[in-house]
Symmetry: none
Subunit: 208 residues, 4 copies
DNA sequence: GATGAATGAGCGTTCATTCAT
DNA sequence: TATGAATGAACGCTCATTCAT
């Protein structure tokens, strides 16, 4: 009967956080499989096994779950990126390199958890899009890169295009990376860094 | 009833192709305005003035019209790209440069027609995502680049990543380009080419 | 094959008007049994046997069916009341008497149709409120009475109270009348007229 | 834990009656603001601050709270009406006059309390329909009138219609009265009495 | 082939009500 | 008893799709 509790331990609290997590997990899956637009609130609740109305005890809309998921990603990745920024003051290339590596590691990790949680009997659920977490982290990287590019000393040819191009490379290479086994974040980061800084002509002609 | 024609272009065939075109036009508009996900078959047929059922005499679903639209773009762009390939045999850089320019010109043109067709009293219909044609042409470019990269003499570090990166830059810069006034396809092509070939460090420090 | 048609006779048109009528009939019933607030669109369509979506091919909302029903009643009763007004110019008592009689006849008729249409195997569906038609007709009578009272020569003690009182008597006596068998519109009209004009003390002490 | 009380008014009982009152108060407000149909159990419990389930420890449904509220009104008004009946034995006109006055005073009072309880910053919450108390008191008056009418010496033309008519006048004039400022219960009672006893023709031609 | 009303699954959401705590 | 999350039926409504005309 006595109870030393650091966290809420009543059965009620327990099922509450379980449900919340179940909804978040289901939402992550559904967004990943169907994409944000196609996903429906009912898809999410169906996957939890909960009753329809229960969803609304936790979130008011699809948008809100999505935001919660994205926030989560941003909160986990934000500090990492901040540290990188601090370490790379003035060294643009170092920043690019480290930020890309951190980004690739993060999405690889997410993806891993994602895959792991899936029951093995549904072999070919293709992932249609990013999870909200990945999207959020991507946005963080984009912002950081845009600032880094804008802040570079010396006039720049076209910062807007530059940021767009860098970001595009990061995202696309990231997606490809996730499709490979084993997932090689180091390799992807090296490639993306080289590509962004020096272009195709700067890439090593022979694979490592 | 009367029929003076050497080719089977009777009234029946005429309205058939007219309807098909009407549906395609309407679909193009709707996809542009609403985006693929948000657009509904109803939106499309509403705009044609045709009956709901008529749609299904031509296409079986939203997906299918989209594909048809994309095919159309691909058919128009295919020959252009083929010619470029023929002209640039062995000269990878030239191919990249010309293909990008052709791509940017094509999408700028599409976009222009799009804008022009709109009645001037609805000033701010923002185009949601790419049109199907852009998507298709983009796919063509991707294929060509992949082949060009794969076919480059000498071993390459990672053709898959390379193609992905090039393609990503092309797409992203293309999108940005369309947002600017005036639409500068030359400038975009120059930037993308330089970025792809030499990376950020190879870009001119000062704007032209 | 030849067809002399004064009204739309295609099967399509036929079922269309049938459905419209079915919906109106069902709505009338549902409003009568459940009252406007409690009635739902689904109650209405359920009773028609049509599919859920079909309702919306005819009316956009509960409000709209209600309005259609009410309009119908008003259109049928409007001319009658107008004629009475014209006949009774300057003779307030005559107007009251005739208007009440017309009102009671109208609602008796409505109620009769109503009852007749019901399948006899549901013995005790209590009518919760007026049908929209009755409500509309009632409103017409109210307006007419208010004008008549306001327009009476000589200053009046309190036209607002007077109209409210007359109207209240008409409605309440009307409701009671409908509960009796046989429905005696003449008797109800006589009573209401006497009551309104002369009060309890003016009523004959013995029933006719 | 400590309990110094001669009557069983422990904490338990106190909160029990408090909760019951809280629910009744909230219900009164909600019915007044939203009307009976529109009001939901949720609206009521939300306003009490109690938990959803607690409601069902006291009442089984919206209907039941409504009835309780009505009972309350009836219990407060019942004795008043009884006294009037006793005072007016045999004098029908006196009974009508006094009962109406008591009725109007009661509903004015109810309405006043209602208005007064409202926070002054929400100036225009219109009261939707009658409060349950008014409905109940109204019912008492109806019963009394029916008995009085039925018990009048001499045969009566139609006691059922008569009661309905009187009651209708009382209700309608009462409603109008509440809409006016200042609320004039005397005036309303005078009007209603005159109208009921002598009809329109018996009303004074000029306002007082 | 064109038509357009009918269909019914499905969506987002609310609500009365239950019941483990 | 009070609590408040869970429940699931029901609502209004839209949509892709069918099919008799």
């Amino acid at each position: 009967m006595s109870q030393v509790a650091y966290l809420p331990v009543g059965k009620r609290e327990q099922t509450k956080v379980q449900n919340r997590l179940a909804i978040l997990d289901a939402a992550r899956e559904v967004f990943g499989e169907l994409g944000y637009e196609t996903a429906t609130v009912r898809d999410i609740i169906r996957r939890t096994g909960l009753a329809a109305g229960t969803f609304y005890n936790y979130y008011r809309s699809k948008e809100e779950v999505f935001a919660a998921l994205a926030d989560d990603g941003a909160h986990r990745f934000g500090p990492i990126l901040k540290a990188i920024r601090a370490q790379s003051l003035g060294d643009f290339e170092a920043f690019i390199s480290r930020a890309l590596e951190a980004y690739f590691e993060f999405i690889a990790d997410e993806h891993q958890n994602w895959i792991a949680r899936r029951p093995p009997d549904e072999p070919h659920i293709h992932i249609q899009g990013e999870t909200p977490e990945m999207a959020a982290v991507f946005k963080e990287v984009r912002d950081a890169m845009e600032q880094a590019i804008a802040g570079r000393q010396g006039p720049v040819s076209d910062p807007d295009y530059m940021a767009a191009a860098c970001i595009a490379v990061a995202r696309e290479v990231g997606d490809k990376m996730l499709e490979r086994r084993p997932v090689d974040t180091k390799g992807a980061a090296e490639f993306a860094t080289a590509m962004i800084l020096n272009g195709l002509k700067g890439l090593p002609k022979a694979p490592a």
